[in-house]
Symmetry: C2
Subunit: 258 residues, 2 copies
Amino acid sequence: MTQPEQRVTAGMIVIGDEILSGRTKDVNIGAVADFCTDLGIDLTEVRIVSDDMEAIVEAVNTLRARYTYVFTTGGIGPTHDDITADAIARAFGVALPINAQARAMLEARWQQTGTEVNEARLRMARIPEGADLIVNSVSAAPGFRMGNVHVMAGVPVIMRAMLEALAPTLQGGKKVMSVTVKAAVGEGTVGGPLGALQEQYPDVKMGSYPQMGQTRVMTELVLRSSDPVRLEEAAGKVREMVSEAHRKAGIAPPDDAY
Amino acid sequence: MTQPEQRVTAGMIVIGDEILSGRTKDVNIGAVADFCTDLGIDLTEVRIVSDDMEAIVEAVNTLRARYTYVFTTGGIGPTHDDITADAIARAFGVALPINAQARAMLEARWQQTGTEVNEARLRMARIPEGADLIVNSVSAAPGFRMGNVHVMAGVPVIMRAMLEALAPTLQGGKKVMSVTVKAAVGEGTVGGPLGALQEQYPDVKMGSYPQMGQTRVMTELVLRSSDPVRLEEAAGKVREMVSEAHRKAGIAPPDDAY
């Protein structure tokens, strides 16, 4: 993979009333977030919208202008509430014909399983004009890439298979590395000095995460940077700061500190 | 609770780099979605944004103009990357002073636990001018309501406690009821007739959800409406349609069908 200097960004759109009603609990956001981090792509914004044409078109057109890549999940099945392909075609101003390659993929699978070809199922072969297919190794019905927008299924196992299929087509940014420093004191104790260190190292992003449900107070300080030298230097300063906080509080550091 | 005829809507904003990087997997969206559904509030859109002032302000100002209620989670702790209160104050154009009531709540808790009062911890007492506090029974640091925007913690157990605290202040819409019809055939088989029934019952929202990982093909058809009579009538039609599909396929319905 090449390592371009420019920041590579992504937006994600989760499409589906079932997520907004609480009926289905989304797990695709976390999977796409991990996927982007691994590739050095900065997932910058996620929107969850309902199965509503205007809402999908607005989100697609806003995010595709704003970010390097857009990923969508949901709404590409065979039923009337699956309108993602229609919305993408409208957002890009193109037609939505039955795609011969998509139809062949589906019919090959249907022949194996003895599934009847009908109008509802053929909806899944409608692909916006000019889009490339994203192979679906799980259930055959393909996703597609239109411009910088990657349209995937909502069923998690299929979505992950599609992510793997499209990974080689993406250009990752600089890989971001992270260091975690564990502290046996609360966020409020380290908050002030951590803020001062953040000002000294603007190129190293510092976050603070309280750990609930532990037998003792624990805070994880996570540092991220694409520059390994600056990252290690900043991590050293944070470790010193945490040691000092432990000393002041008269407590032993946690077994797995630093 | 009164039952106004108008639709009550909500938008949600999840604030935090840790969600977008995949480091933390969000569970608050599902909890807020369930909460809204229970109160008859239509959660219409969710946005996840980074710990970035411009991004938070834009999301807050867009969604508070668009929906009856806005719920935010995350970014109200004591560290430098907790900027939600600052962003809300900027979005509403008001000051962000130390709030005497919030400070008293925090100091009472700190006194019990022997926690030192410092500048980082006092950040959590900064509340936009004109906001009402939302009590935090878990860790004392309060959330707040500014206009129609409800600002809550990101830690799930605290967020849920705050939701319970603010529930009585919300005006729910009409309670939406749902009926689930189980079918032992695939989505593609019921997709066409379900679409036709949706056209006959535009006031009953019909969704179709394939069930993965079952020993046999299963599809759940979920109908939602605020009108119990229309809902039951539509559910009867869907049950008939599914029976017919089972009969045609020559298969016995699932044990727990309908």
